[in-house]
């Protein structure tokens, strides 16, 4: 019976023209809690058209958590967007002396070579300095993120213990929107 089962499943995969994609992380997706058995019960299968569209799709088997099954994350290879852009935040201007600081940095970069090379290297160093400075001055972004996350955990706990009222649910939703904004900054 088991054998027929496998055969029929394979012929299903074949007639669907589906393909198994590489597994990353683990070989098995299900573990009996006492550890006596494990199996690959979960899988992602894709078509050729899928692979043409999303080349090198892979399934990442995550660590076990709340279930005896592992979660699968199906992703395709990341597209190389080329060099990272020079990021500049308007909010920097709200800090007194910001422009003078940039001018000072710019003047003091000591680089030899032709003009294009000098410009490129100066921008590179400026980027680095700005990154450090941004963290020093606007580093509170991380703190507010932590703050939001701990509020969400609190609401989750309440939800678990007594259930959440409409108000609590909408607050949690609002907090998530805030968190998202920060993450995309």
């Amino acid at each position: 019976m088991q054998k027929r089962n496998i055969e029929e499943f394979n012929s299903f995969i074949e007639s669907m023209k589906l393909m198994d994609i590489p597994m990353i992380g683990r070989k098995f997706t299900w573990y009996r809690s006492n550890g006596t058995a494990k199996s690959r019960l979960d899988r992602a299968l894709v078509s050729q058209e899928w692979l043409d569209l999303w080349p090198e799709s892979k399934q990442y088997v995550l660590d076990r958590s709340i279930s005896d099954h592992c979660a699968l994350v199906i992703k395709h290879s990341l597209i190389d967007w080329g060099p990272k852009p020079f990021r500049y935040l308007d909010v920097w201007h709200t800090k007194a002396g910001f422009m003078d600081k940039v001018k000072e940095w710019w003047r003091n970069y000591d680089i030899n070579g032709n003009e294009i090379w000098i410009l490129k290297e100066k921008l590179k160093r400026l980027k680095k300095d700005l990154k450090v400075w941004n963290k020093e001055v606007f580093g509170h972004v991380d703190r507010s993120k932590e703050n939001i996350m701990s509020k969400i955990s609190e609401l989750d706990k309440k939800d678990k213990d007594n259930g959440l009222e409409e108000e609590g649910r909408s607050e949690r939703k609002h907090l998530f929107a805030e968190l998202k904004k920060i993450n995309y900054r």
Binding site: F12, L53, A71, L72, I74, D156
Partner: protein
């Protein structure tokens, strides 16, 4: 295209929602396929526990005996649904993907254990593929 597929073993408690939620956020997931919700009905409120976002849509097939139950939640800006079909053990979503509106079919399967039921499901899915 980023998908998470997860046999959650019950979607009831918020602690079970938090786990996929964190991954969905971290991995910037577009589509979530959940198996074994153990719920007969999934309200939008319940979805927000798993995926806290205003831009989600869902389709589910309820559990009939307290076990089973499958659910798909997706970001409506990533995937726009044209047609969904579901039965015991699977949900088929047909729609357009992304800004290029690429025709895409996603099938979330929680396979029945009984061989004859498996067979019915396979045949049904094959028919749709044709």
């Amino acid at each position: 295209m980023r998908i998470i597929s997860f046999n959650i073993r019950g979607i009831g408690g918020p602690e079970n929602g938090r786990y996929p939620r964190d991954i969905i956020m971290k991995e910037e997931i577009d589509m979530t396929c959940i198996q074994e919700t153990k719920q007969t009905n999934i309200t939008d409120e319940k979805c927000y526990v798993v995926w806290c976002d205003n831009n989600i849509e869902q389709t589910h097939h309820g559990s009939e005996n307290g076990a089973e139950g499958i659910l798909c939640i997706w970001n409506k800006y990533s995937f726009s649904l044209s047609k969904s079909r579901s039965s015991k053990g699977f949900i088929i979503l047909e729609g357009k993907w992304g800004v290029k509106r690429q025709p895409t079919i996603i099938v979330n399967v929680y396979s029945p254990c009984a061989f004859n039921e498996k067979r019915i499901m396979w045949e049904y899915i094959i028919k749709i593929r044709r």
